[in-house]
């Protein structure tokens, strides 16, 4: 479904990524791992169009999206979450859901302004209810993000990404900063999303979180791909162990 081929990225003189290639199969849950500074988030930014690579190509559903702007990438069916959440602080969670809706449907400005779309408002409202419930955040829907626990916001962000009906969902460190119970809940949500037929690619540190979810793992270090395969293959890979030694427990 997603084909990344020989991607290289430079920031000034620094090599952030060098000739990285991997593929993501439709319907799978895949993970991008690696120590800090390995280039995982940069890879995400390349796929979603925030960073343009100096070489290589990104293909999504056989369409080249290498040079596409972020909003075009989204339109082709890729949603993402952010490491630092990006939830609009001055609106309630429920109102924040509209970001997913507006991005997906691009409702006509005129129709909306002249209130010719009552039916549409009603359907989207029901839809929002469904997805808030799906992520288990309906109790907080009228709160502003500042008064909502971090774990709930993480779940909420999933709901917002899913409501936009993507084909591929990119999750940037979904489990970071969560306690065990919250991780469990999130993993459950991720499985439900995957069961709905949405392909998932995530960047994650937490190997345990990955072990229970990911079917396919790509490991980066210093901007290069050092290994790929199933979780078990990666777990025993010498290069991966070496990369993680002294950095984090693998």
């Amino acid at each position: 479904m997603l084909e990344v081929r020989d991607i290289s990225v430079r920031f000034g003189g620094v090599k952030a990524l060098t000739d990285v290639s991997f593929t993501v199969k439709a319907g799978s849950i895949s993970a991008l791992i690696g120590p800090n500074g390995a280039g995982k988030t940069t890879m995400f930014n390349v796929v979603t169009g925030f960073v343009s690579p100096v070489a290589g190509s990104v293909k999504f559903m056989d369409k080249d999206i290498t040079k596409a702007k972020p909003h075009r990438v989204f339109n082709s069916g890729i949603s993402r979450t952010f490491q630092n959440l990006n939830i609009i602080p001055e609106l309630s969670l429920r109102e924040n859901m509209y970001l997913g809706i507006i991005g997906r449907d691009k409702p006509s400005v005129l129709k909306s302004a002249f209130r010719l779309n009552k039916q549409y408002w009603k359907t989207t409202s029901d839809e929002i209810d469904t997805f808030l419930e799906f992520a288990g955040v309906q109790d907080f829907q009228h709160h502003r993000p500042s008064s909502v626990p971090y774990g709930v916001l993480k779940n909420f962000e999933m709901a917002r990404a899913v409501i936009s009906k993507p084909k591929l969902l990119l999750l940037d460190e979904p489990a970071a900063g969560l306690n065990m119970a919250e991780k469990e809940r999130l993993a459950g949500i991720v499985r439900k999303v995957s069961a709905d037929g949405i392909t998932i690619l995530m960047v994650e540190h937490d190997m345990q979180f990955i072990s229970s979810l990911a079917q396919y793992v790509v490991c980066l270090n210093f901007g290069e791909k050092i290994a790929c395969g199933t979780y078990d293959e990666i777990r025993n890979n010498q290069a991966v162990l070496k990369a993680y030694l002294g950095d984090e427990d693998a």
Binding site: K69, P70, F74, A113, R115, S125
Partner: protein, 311 residues
């Protein structure tokens, strides 16, 4: 579907009508017309500043562009006033689009300075291109608005025209505030990268909003020109741009009523303090500073918070 709130518009219409009927004094009508124009401009800026997050310290330029397009077409070429409005709108829209294309890629201080610089350049052009604009001594002989046999040369008639337009615009803005578009803009204001990754073309949207508000501001400029019949660059200087920022901020950024409240309060300052004008700018600066420092959301924001607490 969010409910629209017809009360502010209705109340405004009622007050305006009452003022129009009871006040026979042309002077106060004139003040009211000018304040309405300030309110519209401040509201336009509020859409940029409070909704979309575009810092523009050059709105006076678009106001002036509208006033001069209408003024010159009417005074020099004898056009019917009504025909000059679309030209003013389109003129400012196109200029804003061209200027916005590079400028809106900037953020924060850079954006503020770029719009300010643009405003200054337009101001200098108004002064220097005296063969078109009449230069610093101003442009005289601007005609009156006249259509379908209605004549708006007198202040009373103009006041009625202005009130109708004003209430209409407020109503449209209320619709906007309760539409998807207002969410779209607030998303862009809050996080461009998030909006981008949810499929919103932020640059294009900002550009259109910027250009549209410029066009709207230019139409206000035309209304101004046909009201005072004399325009000179002084009215479109940086000072006015900053006054608009003050009005929008004091009134409340991100609230439709903000611009109106700010314009009424600050617009009345010169009237109330006619004898102590020295303190006018002091009041402007003081209110602005206090609002920024201690009253985020301005007056409209505070009011809405109070209302929510009561409910």
């Amino acid at each position: 579907m969010r409910k629209i709130n017809p009360f502010p518009a209705l109340i405004a219409a009622f007050i305006l009508a009452a003022v129009g009927l009871t006040v026979e004094n042309e002077y106060y009508l004139g003040v009211a017309v000018i304040i309405m124009i300030h309110a519209l401009n401040a509201t336009g800026l509020n859409i940029l500043l409070g909704y979309t997050g575009i810092i523009s310290i050059g709105q006076a330029a678009f106001f002036g562009i509208g006033a001069y397009i209408s003024g010159v077409l009417s005074a020099t070429y004898g056009w019917n006033a009504l025909l000059t409005f679309p030209v003013a709108f389109m003129g400012a829209f196109i200029i804003a689009y061209i200027i916005g294309w590079p400028v809106l890629r900037l953020h924060g201080h850079y954006l503020a300075m770029a719009t300010l610089g643009f405003g200054m350049i337009i101001y200098i052009l108004m002064n220097e291109m005296d063969f078109i604009t009449g230069g610093p001594s101003g442009l005289m002989g601007i005609g009156d608005i006249e259509f379908f046999g209605l004549y708006f040369g007198l202040d009373q008639a103009y006041f009625v025209l202005m009130s109708v337009y004003f209430v209409f615009v407020l109503f449209m803005l209320e619709l906007f505030d309760k539409s998807f578009l207002h969410y779209k803009l607030k998303f862009i204001k809050s996080s461009e990268s998030a909006s981008n990754s949810y499929g919103l073309d932020t640059v294009q949207t900002k550009l259109l909003v910027f250009a549209f508000v410029a066009g709207f501001t230019a139409v206000n400029g035309s209304l101004y020109a046909f009201f005072v019949h004399f325009i000179s660059p002084v009215s479109f200087s940086l000072k006015y741009s900053i006054e608009l920022v003050a009005m929008a901020t004091v009134g409340g950024l991100g609230y439709i009523t903000g611009g109106v409240i700010g314009a009424v309060i600050l617009g009345l300052v010169p009237e109330l303090f006619a004898s102590a004008e020295d303190y006018e700018m002091l009041i402007y600066g003081g209110l602005l500073a206090v609002c920024v420092m201690f009253v985020p959301g301005g007056i409209a924001g505070t009011l809405s918070r109070l209302r929510k607490k009561d409910a």
